[in-house]
Structure formats: C-alpha cells, structure tokens
C-alpha cells in the first residue's frame, strides 16, 4: 500500500505540547468540545489532508461516532490508530497493581479475565492471546471505519524494544494483518535500533514513525544513524516532530527533510485551516505536488501549530 504524504496528528487536541505546559493547557481548553476537533478535521479534509493519525484516546471514539453518522462526507477519510493510550494503563497500574490493571482492561465476560485471575504464569502461556484482546479492545471504536495502518505507540514499542522482546512485534504485526487487513506500524524514539529488531523478527519494509528533524531532537542512536538508515535501509519512514517543538523554522525544517531519501510521510498537527494550508503548501513546494489527494507518500504523526502567526512544531505522538 501507499501511505498518504501528509498525515494529520492529534497531540494538539489533547493538551500535549512538548514545549510548554501552559500552551498545552490552552489547547486542552479549546478542544474539550469534540465538535471543535471535528471542525479542524473537516478543514484538514477540505485542504486535502484525509488521514488522521490518532491515539486511542476515549474522545476519539466520539470523532468515530460522528464519522460513522456521516458516511458520505467521510467516505475518503482514514484513521491510522496509535495504540494504546498509555496514560490510562499507567494510572491503572498505580491504582490496581500490575495484575489488577491487566484485569481492569479485559472484557468483563471474557474467559481471559477468569483465566488471568486464577493464573500464576499466564504471561508465558498466552502473551499472544492477551495482546490480541488488548488490540481488539482498542480497535472497537473504529468499527466500520477505514484503518489501513495500525500503530503501536512509542512508549509500548520502546519498552518492548529495550526489554528485547522482539517477538511481540511479530505477534502484533500478524494480528493486525489477519484481523484488520491492515499494515502494522511502529512509533519509536529509537528508530535504528527498532529497525534492526523488526528486521530480526522478519517484518520486512516496516512502517516506522519517528522523530526526524534537522537538530536531531529525540533521534536516539544519533541523527547520523537515522540518516544512514534512511539511505541504506528498506523501510517506510514517517517523520514526526519535524519542527522539533518549534526549535526549527518551518521552511528550514521541511527543506532539510526533503533532501533526505526514503521519507514516505510527515505527521503534523494544527489547530486552524490557515496552518493546515500553510504546512501543506510548504510540503508540496519541497516534495512536489501529489497527483491526487491520495498523495504518494507514507503516513504518521507530527504536528505543526501556529501561535502569533508563526508555525510551531509540536513534538511526538504520545509520551507518558
């Protein structure tokens, strides 16, 4: 499959701003009404940005409801879900403990809940079963909608990566392909290391979304290793945090990015039609205008935001 070149991210909707807690709060206030989120998504769609890379936040479920209720308007719209929304799990662990949290997120009527309660070593026997159920729980909200790529979010990806549990990536990839007829995607802050791990478990030409920016902000393993991988590796790279939380002027950031090989897509965030348009114009200028709105690139998560008329890139997809 081909990824759209420009993907719309969701950090700005949920009070995530890696530059300032004050700005994050201002955004959280503005977007607390889901109708306001939908208004911005509509603007993106009208500007030719039709792919929404979003975390599986509870409020996205409301966006999904709206899309299902208006099938004609959103026939061409697609979601790239990013799971899980990590905070709900992290907070549940503090409240309920590790096992308690696992139980908390299992369906009430499932055999698994019963099994987990009594089990001493279920992790060994059926990690695959647990993983499938957790993915299915997160995917419920997208029922009936177009989800061509399904991502594991970076906290989970990097946790698994560090622990060396590479086989879990393959389990996720298999499930997403079989159950949802979708491509697996992986968000990470450690792209070179992740690429090696994915290759190691046989995930060919993986879709990887990572910070890729001129100043090397959160490009762990080093910016040189990133550019080298883009040059020599076989992957579909999605650049996020391309403006490094506003540290790089937009034009300079995009021009630098356009000179890298193998960038399939860019994720950006914006709160207004004007900022969506200005970003798209910039990308089209440096990457060439796509033949149709479907573009010719890949997808992911990044964000551009405007304050006082300037563009401010907001960093990553999701962090705890």
């Amino acid at each position: 499959m081909t990824l759209d070149r420009l993907l719309f991210g969701d950090n700005q909707f949920f009070g995530i701003n890696h530059m300032s807690e004050e700005k994050a709060r201002t955004q959280a206030m503005r977007f607390q009404d889901t109708a306001e989120i939908i208004r911005v998504l509509d603007a993106a769609l009208d500007e030719g940005v039709r792919t929404f890379m979003c975390t599986t936040h509870d409020r996205i479920a409301e966006v999904c409801d709206h899309m299902r209720a208006n099938p004609a308007r959103y026939a061409d719209f697609r979601f790239y879900p990013c799971m899980p929304y990590a905070h709900k799990y992290a907070n549940a662990v503090t409240e309920h403990g590790m096992l308690g949290a696992a139980l908390h997120f299992m369906p009430d009527d499932g055999l698994f809940k019963t099994a987990l309660r009594g089990a001493s070593s279920l992790a060994t026997k059926d990690a695959e079963g647990i993983l499938k159920i957790l993915v299915d729980m997160e995917m419920k909200m997208f029922k009936g909608l177009n989800t061509p790529v399904i991502f594991l979010q970076n906290v989970v990806v990097d946790l698994i990566l560090g622990m060396g549990m590479d086989e879990i990536f393959a389990l996720f990839a298999d499930h997403v392909r079989k159950r949802y007829d979708a491509e697996p995607g992986f968000v990470t802050m450690n792209m070179p290391r992740l690429y090696d791990a994915l290759t190691h478990v046989g995930i060919e030409n993986p879709i990887i979304c990572a910070n890729i920016n001129k100043i090397g902000f959160r490009t762990c393993g080093g910016l040189d290793a990133y550019t080298e991988l883009l040059r020599t590796g076989r992957l579909r790279a999605i650049a996020m945090s391309v403006f490094a939380s506003g540290a790089i002027p937009p034009r300079e950031a995009i021009e630098w990015l356009a000179n890298l090989p193998n960038i399939d897509a860019i994720v950006f965030g914006a709160s207004s039609r004007q900022n969506i348009r200005s970003t798209k114009v910039l990308i089209d200028e440096f990457f060439g205008r796509p033949a149709s709105s479907s573009g010719g690139m890949n997808t992911s998560k990044g964000r551009i935001e405007a304050y006082n008329g300037g563009l401010l890139g907001l960093a990553t997809v999701e962090r705890t």
């Binding site: 992290a90 409240e95 309920h96 590790m98 308690g100 060994t124 990690a127 990097d158 560090g162 393993g221």
Partner: protein, 367 residues
C-alpha cells in the same frame, strides 16, 4: 580498552521496574538479570527477553555473579534489600523514596560510603534539563537573595474511592507524600539542602481510605528562606504528573517545569552572562542532552547511564547517592512529625499497620 560490563540485577517488576529493566537492558555496558517474586511477568521476561530470572532475592545474591542491583520493589522493602546487597559488596540503585525510616537511610548511606560502593536513588527530576538549569542558575547567585520558593506537583493518580495497592497505602510507602511529594521535596533539598523546620503540614485524603491524596506544608531554611509545598495526586485537570518550582529572589524570578525554564532578571548578572535583563526562556529542546536509548523521557535513561558509569569508574560520592536521598527522607519525616504534633488541623486518617502480603509474595527477599 572498553570498560568491563556491569552485571546488574533488576529487582521488582512493577511499573518502574519494567521501565528500568527496558532501559538497563538496552544499555551497551550491562548484562541484566531480573528478580521478582511473582511469576506473572517473570515467565514472560524469561521467555521473550531471554534474560536470566530469579524468584528468590537471597538465592540470586548468593549466586555471586553480580556487580550491582537495582531495587524497584515496594518502598517498605527497600531498607532490608539494600542492606543485604551492600553486605554482599554490591553497588546499589534504589527507587525513591529511599527508606521509610530516615535512620535506615543514614545507616545505609554510611555503609555504602564505608565500603566505597556506588549508591544512587531514582530521583529522576535531577536529570531533567530544565531542573538542572535551575540548579545552575541558583548556584550562580544571579537571583540575589532567594526569599521564597513554591514547589508543586499535580497529577491524576487516585480519582475514585477505590483500588488498593501498596502505592495507595502509607505504611508501605505509598500515598501522595511518598509517591508524588517526595519529588519536589527532593528538588528543594538539591537546591537548598535540609530545611530547618516544617510548619503547617496538611496531609489529607481526598478519595483514599488508607493514605493522603494531598500534601501541603511550609518549609523553613536557616536565613529565613521559606518554601510552600503544594502537591495533589487526585487532580485530573493534569494529563500526567506535572512538577514545577518557582523561586522569588531579590534580583528576579525563576520558574521551571519539565518543558522549560523561565528566568526574569531585574538586572543582568556577571555570574550568568548568557541571560539577559528581563525575561529569558530556555526550552527542553536546548536543555536536554541526547541519550542513547529513549523511554518515557531522557531523564530515566540519563540516571541509569550515570549509575552504570559510576560503577564502571568507582565514582561513589555523587549528587544522587544515598546520603542525598536520606536528606529527603528526613524532610519527609519532618512533615509527618509536624502533622502529628497537632499544631495544624489535618483530616488525615490515623495510620494503622496491617499485615500485607508483600513479604509473603517476596518470600525470602525481604527478611
């Protein structure tokens, strides 16, 4: 020549434990083994990570194939487990809070120092770029005389009257005081040392049955500087834990959180030539040093890097050692003493020690 690899045991696979395991395992200079009394995660780690795993702490220590341990068990178990590791001559990284009784903290700090072993406690905010910059600015004296500090932490942990784990039980080292307030207190200790006294301590439940959900107090330092502590872990207007410090001085005002450091200077200071008169803002993008492996924040990797590096080159007295954390444990004890002195009206429920299953779960680990 490449330094010898550090054989490190990760003990306790809870929320912080698995994060530490991931980071430590990704470190090029470590060989990690894990230890947890519960099979639930241990078997999964054995199978997928293919790292050696132990169910029994004593058995693991007795294996004699370790250089260091990282203790991430419930707080109540820290002191006995750290004591055993030091007795074996192992370097120790311990999660925060260090010990529930500050006398244990001081004794263990002395033991580590006497044996010339590396010790560290997981107060990761000391590795956040903006708080490090705050440290540099305070040390420069550019703020003039600092008269008052506001130390805050807010976040969404306990939002309903339900749920019970060691983290929500005071006697086990849980609660807002140990889990949240310990962080801003530790930053205050880093910048200003041990306070002279504490007054007006309020430790109150909001939703919890067994512990405090909000902590407020006034801390006093010799020379007259005071700090207000304001901490609440039952506040879901915050997406995640937010820690912030604001300082007022005769030459300006300084603010830091995880994302940025803002300094207002009334007049430029020769001690701080890179800051101008008026407002100065430094963002995380420029204050944060890159790390080799990233999980949840550079600070978590940086603290493990610091520990592994210290073990490799035998660096024992650091800003992060047991002695530094003992100061925080002592400050926490001052808060509790003030609360118990009855000079302030606290709604905190009386603490009753109840038998919990943790020692049982950890079998031979704690005793």
């Amino acid at each position: 020549m490449e330094a010898k690899k550090v054989r490190l045991a990760l003990v306790g696979l809870g929320k912080m434990g698995i994060s530490h395991f991931s980071i430590a395992n990704a470190h090029p200079a470590t060989e990690v083994v894990v230890c947890d009394a519960a099979d639930f995660l241990l078997d999964g780690i054995k199978k997928y990570s293919k790292r050696p795993a132990f169910r029994d702490y004593d058995e693991m220590l007795a294996s004699g194939e370790l250089d260091a341990v990282l203790i991430a068990t419930p707080s109540r178990l820290h002191a006995p487990m750290v004591r055993k590791a030091l007795a074996r001559g192992l370097h120790v990284f311990c999660e925060k809070p260090f010990c529930l009784d500050w006398r244990d903290s001081e004794a263990l700090a002395k033991a580590a120092s006497d044996k010339r072993l590396v010790s560290q406690v997981g107060y990761h905010y000391r590795f956040v770029g903006a708080f490090q910059e705050m440290k540099r600015i305070v040390a420069s004296g550019a703020l003039g005389t600092i008269t008052h500090v506001l130390a805050e932490a807010y976040g969404p942990v306990v939002l309903r009257p339900k749920g019970s784990t060691w983290r929500t039980n005071r006697t086990e080292g849980g609660g807002c005081l140990y889990d949240y307030a310990a962080h801003p207190i530790n930053l205050l200790n880093w910048y200003f040392g041990q306070p002279e006294s504490v007054s007006g301590a309020i430790l109150s439940p909001i939703f919890s049955a067994d512990t405090d959900d909000e902590v407020y107090a006034t801390l006093h330092w010799p020379g007259g500087m005071s700090a207000h502590l304001s901490v609440n872990w039952s506040d879901d207007s915050y997406r995640k834990m937010s820690t912030r410090i604001t300082m007022t001085g005769t030459n300006g005002r300084l603010y830091a959180d995880r994302q940025e450091c803002q300094l207002y200077l009334r007049a430029t200071s020769e001690a701080l030539p890179d800051y101008a008169k008026g407002w100065n803002v430094r963002y995380t993008t420029e204050l944060t040093k890159p790390v080799r492996f990233y999980l949840r924040g550079e600070e978590y990797s940086a603290q493990i890097d610091e520990f592994v590096g210290a073990v490799q080159c035998g660096r024992t007295a650091t800003q992060y050692d047991f002695a530094s954390a003992a100061v925080t444990d002592k400050t926490i004890a001052m808060l509790l003493a003030d609360r118990d002195s009855g000079t302030t009206r606290s709604r905190a429920a009386p603490v009753t020690v109840e038998k919990r299953s943790w020692f049982g779960r950890f079998g031979g680990m704690g005793r």
